[in-house]
Point group: C2
Chain length 342, copies 2
C-alpha cells in the first residue's frame, strides 16, 4: 500500500485555525481562572501535580497545558511543563508584573458578544452596540477597564514618565484626560515629587484612580475633575496633558475638538502626550496596532486606529506646532508628542 | 525630549492577542458571510469597490480587509487588496475547492458557547455539555456538520482513495462508519466503479450522505445502515472499513470496543482506515493536531486526540496484525491503516 504524494499544495489549516481561534481566548482565560501559571511557577510540572494544585482533573489539565504549549505560553520537555519567560513575568500571580487581571476586561463574555454583531458593524461602518457613543458614562464597562488593565500600563507609563523627564523633579502640572485607573499620571507623580496631577474622568472611574493614587502614595498631589473631556472645565496652564487610549474611540472631527480644548489648556511650550495604537500608513503593519482598528469598529460608533499622518494633521489643525512619534519599547503602542508654541 | 530605551524586554503582546483571538473567528466568519473573498476574487480591490460589491460601508470593509491582511488571508499593496493563494482556492465561492461552508459548523455560536464551560471541562476531565456522550443521535449538530464540512474532506478523501488503490478498479466492499456527509466512501466509489459502499450513521445524517451519493453519481452502489456504530449490525466480509474522525469522540475502552466490531466485520486481510488528528508522542506537535485535543475536551465526555502509539495499542488489542501511520499531505490529519491477518 503506497502512500500517495500530493506535497506542496496549499492547505486550509489557517482557515481551520481562525474559525477555531476563539478557543485560544477560552483556554487562556481558563488557565488564568484556574491559576495554572501560578501553580507551574510554584513548582508543579506534571499534569498530575498541576491537577492537584489547581483542583482539576489530570486529563483536563494535561489537555489544557498541551494546548497552552502549542500556543507558546508553556514549554514541555519529557512530559514536564515549564513557564516561558513571558508567562513567568506576566501570568504568574506571584510576579509583580502579572497581567492576569486583564482577563477581567479582555475576552469577557461582554467583549465577545459585541463581536457577534461584527457583520452589522461592517455594513454600518460602526458599532451597532447601544453604548457605542463614548461621550456618556457607562460605569460598569469603564470601571471594569480601570480595575483590570492597570498592570498592562507599566511599560508605557514608565516610558511616558521618562519622556517627561520626571526623574529630574522639576515642578510640573499634569492633566490626565480619561484617566481610568490613573496609572499614567500616578507614575509621573511617583517619579517626580514636584508633579501635580489632575485626573479627568467619570465619577465612578475616578474612584478607582483615587484608590490607586492612595495606594502609590501620591494622593496629596492628585486631584480630580469629574465629567466629559468634551465639556468639563479642564483648568489651564498645564505643562503636560496625557491622552492615553482615548482618541481611538472617536471620529476625526471629535478628536480635533478635544485637541483644540487640550491646546487651550496647555501653557506655551506645553506638550500633549498621546498614547495610542498607531498603525503604519499601510494600516496593515505592525500587526497588533493594525488589528486594533477592528476592535474600534466593533465597539464604537465612529472610532478607529489612526495613522501618524492622521494624528499629525489633526494636532496641527488644532494649533500644535510640532508632532513627533515615539514607539514604546516592548509594547504594540506608540506615543505621539504634540507641542504648543512657546 | 529623549526617547528612553528599554529594548529587549519580554512583551505581553502574545497574551493581549490570545485574549482577543475570538476576533479572528468573528472577522473570518463576517468576511465569509459578506462574501468579501468572492468580491475580491471577482476584481474588486479597493475598499470602495469591495464595499459596493458587498453592500457594506467603505470604512467597515476597509477595517475588515486590513484585519484579514494582518491575519494572512489577503495581501495589500498600494491600498489595493488581493486574495492570497489559499484564499483564492478555499474562500472564493467561485473556486471548486471553496471551504466557506465550514463556517456553518466551525466557530458558530453553538460551538463557541460550548467553550464557555471550558473551565468546568478542565475540572471535570470532560465536557459538561448535555450532549457530550456521542453514542446517541443529536441530529441538528451532525446534520450541520455533514452539510458544512464536506468540502474540507477533498484532500483526505482523495488520499484515502489512493491508499485503497481505487483507480485500479478491483471489486471492493467498503463500510463507511459514521459516514456523515459520506464523502470518504463516495470518493472511493467515484474513483473505483467496482466499489460498493455501505454507510452507517444516524438516519437524519444519512439523508445528507445519500444526497451526496446521488450528486456524485454513485447512488446505485451506495447503501445505508441506520443506527449506532456500537450496536447496529454492520454486515461482514468488508475489504475496507473507513473510520474517519470518529475515535476522538470516545474513551480508549469505547474505541477498542468499536475496533473489535470492525475487526469482525472485515474479511481476512481487510483493512481499517482511520482518519484522525494524531499528535506526536509529545502531544504538543504538530500544532493543529495537538490543539485538537482541547476541542474534544470541551465537546465530549471522554474523547481525546490519541497518539499513534495509543492507536497502535488499541488496534492490536482488538486483534489487528499491523498498524501503520500515513500523514495526509497538505492537511493536519493522518491516516492509520490497520490490517487484519490474511
Amino acid at each position: 500500500m503506497a502512500t500517495p504524494s500530493t506535497a506542496g499544495r496549499p492547505t486550509p489549516e489557517r482557515i481551520f485555525n481562525a474559525l477555531n481561534a476563539y478557543q485560544q481566548t477560552a483556554a487562556l482565560r481558563t488557565a488564568i481562572e484556574l491559576d495554572v501559571f501560578t501553580a507551574i511557577g510554584g513548582g508543579a510540572n506534571t499534569s498530575a501535580t498541576i491537577a492537584t494544585k489547581t483542583g482539576t482533573s489530570e486529563k483536563g489539565v494535561r489537555i489544557l497545558c498541551d494546548y497552552l504549549t502549542v500556543q507558546g505560553f508553556l514549554t514541555k520537555e519529557q512530559g514536564r511543563y515549564a513557564l516561558t519567560q513571558e508567562s513567568a513575568i506576566f501570568l504568574d500571580r506571584k510576579s509583580p508584573a502579572c497581567l492576569a487581571s486583564m482577563a477581567g476586561f479582555l475576552g469577557t463574555e461582554r467583549a465577545r458578544s459585541i463581536f457577534d454583531s461584527l457583520t452589522l458593524a461592517v455594513r454600518n461602518g460602526g458599532s451597532v452596540w447601544s453604548e457605542a457613543d463614548n461621550t456618556k458614562p457607562h460605569d460598569d464597562f469603564w470601571v471594569a477597564f480601570a480595575r483590570s488593565m492597570a498592570p498592562l500600563t507599566v511599560p508605557a507609563s514608565e516610558f511616558i514618565a521618562a519622556l517627561l523627564r520626571a526623574e529630574e523633579g522639576k515642578p510640573a502640572k499634569v492633566l490626565d484626560i480619561a484617566a481610568g485607573h490613573g496609572m499614567y499620571g500616578i507614575t509621573v507623580a511617583r517619579k517626580n515629587p514636584k508633579a501635580e496631577i489632575v485626573a479627568l474622568d467619570w465619577p465612578a472611574v475616578l474612584q478607582v484612580a483615587q484608590e490607586n493614587a492612595r495606594k502609590f502614595g501620591v494622593a496629596e498631589r492628585y486631584s480630580v475633575r469629574m465629567g466629559s473631556a468634551f465639556d468639563t472645565d479642564m483648568g489651564s496652564g498645564y505643562d503636560y496633558v496625557l491622552l492615553t487610549n482615548i482618541f481611538h474611540h472617536f471620529a476625526i472631527p471629535t478628536c480635533e475638538k478635544l485637541m483644540h480644548r487640550v491646546h487651550a489648556a496647555l501653557k506655551p511650550g506645553g506638550k500633549a502626550i498621546t498614547l495610542e495604537f498607531v498603525p503604519n500608513e499601510d494600516r496593515v503593519t505592525p500587526p497588533t496596532a493594525a488589528a486594533f482598528s477592528l476592535i474600534m469598529l466593533a465597539n464604537t460608533d465612529a472610532g478607529d486606529a489612526y495613522t501618524f499622518s492622521e494624528y499629525e494633521k489633526m494636532f496641527r489643525s488644532a494649533g500644535f506646532a510640532s508632532v513627533t512619534l515615539h514607539p514604546v519599547p516592548g509594547m504594540p503602542q506608540q506615543v505621539v508628542v504634540s507641542e504648543k508654541s512657546a
